[in-house]
């Protein structure tokens, strides 16, 4: 597959970086919102979630791409679901074994990676028609694009809501509370995740005019 072109040729590199901004799966293609928001109260579970999604998208893309010539088109959805579910089970078991507390915090949302539309979408749109290596990169790129949004939302929600980052009391250390600052308890509540994401989309689209909907 990489006999003629180098492993990270410009074309392949674009597969990796495009989903981070211009084709971001969350803010532009509106995929995978389901699980994106509920885990973003704190930074730590969001990072774990981001890594899990990157792993699942990358490897299920790789596996489906390897099998793409053998899957009968009529039953491809079931085959894809089985592959994704198997990947998610592996990730879930690893999390339970090595990061039990985070796995408890994420609760059902690890399982919900199965129905994350990003993964199905990339399998349908890319892995079924491309060679394994580009498919793998595409998976990493899209997982990272999703993870990026997750981490940005979580950063603001944890900083403004609890005044900490990864559990470290940032605002207390710089002495903001002495000036009368109070944490915004609203940011911890679920609806604020939606509003934060709405604002991120606003910022992104006002910087990038061709994304604006008519």
């Amino acid at each position: 597959m990489s006999g003629k072109e180098p492993l990270l040729s410009p074309k392949n590199l674009r597969l990796l970086t495009d989903p981070l901004a211009r084709n971001n799966p969350v803010t532009v293609l509106v995929l995978g919102i389901c699980s994106a928001l509920a885990v973003t109260v704190k930074l730590e579970p969001s990072i774990v979630m981001a890594i899990s999604v990157i792993i699942v998208t990358a490897f299920s893309n790789l596996v489906i791409s390897l099998m793409r010539n053998y899957i009968p088109p009529r039953i491809r959805i079931i085959v894809q679901l089985v592959v994704i579910a198997a990947m998610v089970i592996i990730v879930d078991q690893v999390l339970k074994a090595y990061a039990y507390n985070v796995s408890k915090q994420l609760s059902v949302f690890v399982g919900l990676i199965i129905t994350n539309c990003i993964i199905m979408g990339r399998l349908e749109a890319f892995a079924l028609g491309n060679k394994p290596w580009p498919a793998f990169l595409d998976g990493v790129g899209n997982g990272a694009g999703y993870g990026f949004i997750l981490i940005v939302v979580a950063f603001f929600r944890e900083l403004l809501g609890s005044g900490t980052l990864l559990g470290y009391p940032v605002l207390e250390k710089i002495g903001l509370y002495k000036t009368g600052y109070v944490n915004n308890g609203m940011m911890i509540l679920p609806p604020m995740a939606l509003i934060t994401l709405g604002i991120i989309i606003w910022v992104q689209r006002s910087r990038n005019k061709d994304l604006i909907e008519s």
Binding site: L37, V108, T115, L197, I199
Partner: protein, 205 residues
């Protein structure tokens, strides 16, 4: 009975699938442009959740849980298949969706033609799998409780999507800042609706 009503109302208003857990957002955002289509999808979701949660409840309690297979033979008492739950649940959901589709087609062609296109979509709706996973996590005591939870979650999702569709129909001609049009404003409105729904918190029946 009281308990069932409690679970039902709680899953509609307090633990609303959309406003509290953001489940099923993909189709919620994609299909909520008009009230008519979103009503169709909402009814289909109630249907499928009402079916799959009790079925998965039976599977969880008689096949997967540690010691659940005891009813087959005492030797199987130590078998723990709970790591298989994701794959079992999604298989049940995919086949139930297919089954529900065939049953509706047979007995109510009118309903089928209005739901038709939405039913296959539902197999990958996070709200459906989420319903089963929450059922597993919260360990409901009986199949009736699981059914009440499934139906309630479906009704909650239905309310949310019909509500947002109605609002989106109204704001179509409003003067929204260009970069916020479409997706951005929908998120913010959903957030505001979520804040409104939070006022139901603390209700005890």
């Amino acid at each position: 009975m009281e308990n069932l009503a409690n679970i039902f109302v709680k899953s509609i208003f307090i633990d609303n699938m959309i406003f509290a857990y953001f489940l099923g957002m993909c189709s919620y955002l994609a299909v909520s442009k008009t009230v008519k289509t979103s009503t169709g999808l909402g009814v289909a979701v109630i249907f499928v959740l009402g079916f799959t949660v009790p079925v998965n409840y039976l599977i969880e309690n008689y096949l997967l849980k540690p010691g659940a297979m005891q009813w087959l033979s005492p030797k199987l008492a130590s078998v723990d298949l709970s790591f298989l739950s994701f794959i079992m649940f999604i298989a049940v959901i995919a086949s139930m969706v297919q089954l529900v589709e065939m049953v509706i087609e047979k007995f109510s062609p009118a309903l089928y033609s209005s739901l038709g296109i939405f039913l296959p979509l539902i197999a990958v709706n996070c709200a459906i799998l989420g319903g089963s996973l929450f059922m597993q996590e919260r360990q409901y005591q009986s199949i009736a409780e699981a059914t009440a939870f499934g139906l309630g979650s479906g009704v909650g999702w239905f309310l949310a999507i019909v509500g947002i569709a109605a609002i989106r129909e109204k704001i179509r001609y409003s003067n929204i800042p260009a970069p916020l049009r479409g997706l951005g404003i929908t998120f913010i409105i959903t957030g505001l609706m979520g804040i409104a729904f939070m006022s139901f918190m603390g209700i005890k029946l």
